[in-house]
Amino acid sequence: MKKLFPILTMALVIFAGSLSIETHAEELNTNDVLTAEEKITADGEKNNADAWLEGKTMAEKYSGLGDDDKLAKNGYKIDPYVNSGDTAWMIVATALVLLMTIPGLSLFYGGLARKKNVLSVLVQCFAVTALMSLLWVIYGYSFAASGDGKLFGDFSQLFLKGITTDSMSGSIPESVFVTFQMTFAIITPALIVGAFAERMKFSAVMIFLVIWFTFSYCPIWHMVWGGGYLATTWEAIDFAGGTVVHINAGVAALVACIMLGKRKGYPDSPMPPHNVPFVLIGAALLWVGWFGFNAGSALTAGGQAGMAQLVTQVATAAAAFTWMMVEWCTKGKPTAIGLATGAVAGLVAITPASGSVGPMAAIAIGVAAAVVCYWAATSLKKKLGYDDSFDVFGVHGVGGIVGALLTGVFAFSDEGKEIIKNQFTGQLMSVLVTVIWSAVVTFIAIKIAGALCGGIRSDEDTELQGLDVKDHGEDGYSL
């Protein structure tokens, strides 16, 4: 039923279009015949244009040759050159993704927290931003992106050795690629803080995230995007980080919050968000910033980026709307938090698929994400009893899994059952590997952080009075 209206509209448009084309072809009358002079000029100019386009295509081909390509081995590779359109877009995309963390995610989580803990959430997000920026350039980029390992990279680019102003990564300067990926390395650990919010020691948070970043984020990055195990053996598709970012962080969140234990008073005392407008503002910043996340993962400014932006918008809108309708029908009222959460679920699910699906598949992905994540954040969470403060697993973990699997279904939807089945299997494997890897690393990292900090959980006094005043000595609102 939902598809009937667009299908009818399209049929009408195609019919009207075909009518106008037919009449046009018949109308090449005496006014439109070229003179001999016009023809000579046009021939010359069009040939120049075609040659230029051909040259451009060849330049892209020969500068983009892989090192193990036969032509490259015979000396035919040309130096990569800066594409200023791609570069300009990627510099902007980097800023957009940073905005997603500060203040997008910060406000989204900050608003969900109780008033006495708002600063602790903001500080954790900002501190993670600062810390991960440094770790990424010191060793993270190298450990994730360099080398031929199956599971993780090497240290050939430690301290960004060898990267200069002129270094290239495809058609953009490598410095831009480093910073763009840095913003991903920032937001992924920042996502996790939402699960253990309001009851974890700040020192333990920092130590846990350093260990997790090093041993889960960077290796999974390498396995999916650095030519490692998941990319080569399983050809898993993860365009912008459904696996590397969302499943990785979501599973870590689940394990961490279970190991940490529930907040005092959960689930019997109500702990409503202290600032719902913050949550909506944060969600809006995430939505807009996500264009940088998904369309930026095209690493170029062109058709793929454009389509990624389109499907991102469509999937998110579908998810937000669906969550709102589900809530309205089951609970009687559409809530602001529900609308915001639905949007985020859609954003997460479209992330791995944004490079390979079209807008209609995006609608399906958005609807599926909203329904499944709604169930995960409400029924599943209640049934299993874990206290995932801000539903990081329910939205990012589950949404990432839904997105990764549906990518397998829709990425090659025109190419026959066998190819779809193969891709789906590849996606499933990438999900399983990431879930297990992240869970194990999280378990060990929490144990180490606990040992180094004398326990990861805030003491009772701190939890009751609020982390802001006890851990940070500050009041969020001195009104």
Partner: protein
């Protein structure tokens, strides 16, 4: 001297203030409070979970009056704060031992 403490519905504040002004009472102190009596709370929804909120926002109004003005003040507040529905609030009257105006050191009825 008597002190009136009235718990009223927040949207009634302007009306009560105007009614008190009409009987000659120009000064008062107002606090935002939460409370409940027989008026039940309401349910709110967060991520699919429902929970009851018992405490409702109210306004507490405190005003000191002379013994002569007491009846008029009580009537002014009660009439203007009433809606007829549950949750209209309550008025408490207590005796003040002393009242002093800080600027002039006046005491007693002059200070009220």
């Amino acid at each position: 001297m008597k002190k009136l403490e009235a718990i009223i519905k927040p949207f009634k504040l302007e009306e009560v203030k105007d009614a008190l002004a009409e009987v000659g009472i120009e000064g008062m102190t107002v606090t935002e409070v939460k409370g409940f009596g027989r008026q039940k709370g309401h349910t709110e929804i967060y991520r699919g979970s429902e929970y009851t909120v018992d405490f409702l926002p109210k306004i507490k109004l405190e005003v000191a009056v002379t013994d002569g003005n007491l009846e008029a003040a009580i009537k002014a507040v009660a009439d203007s704060a009433k809606t007829g529905k549950i949750g209209d609030g309550k008025i408490f009257v207590s005796t003040i031992d002393e009242a002093i105006r800080i600027r002039t050191n006046e005491k007693g009825d002059e200070a009220v």
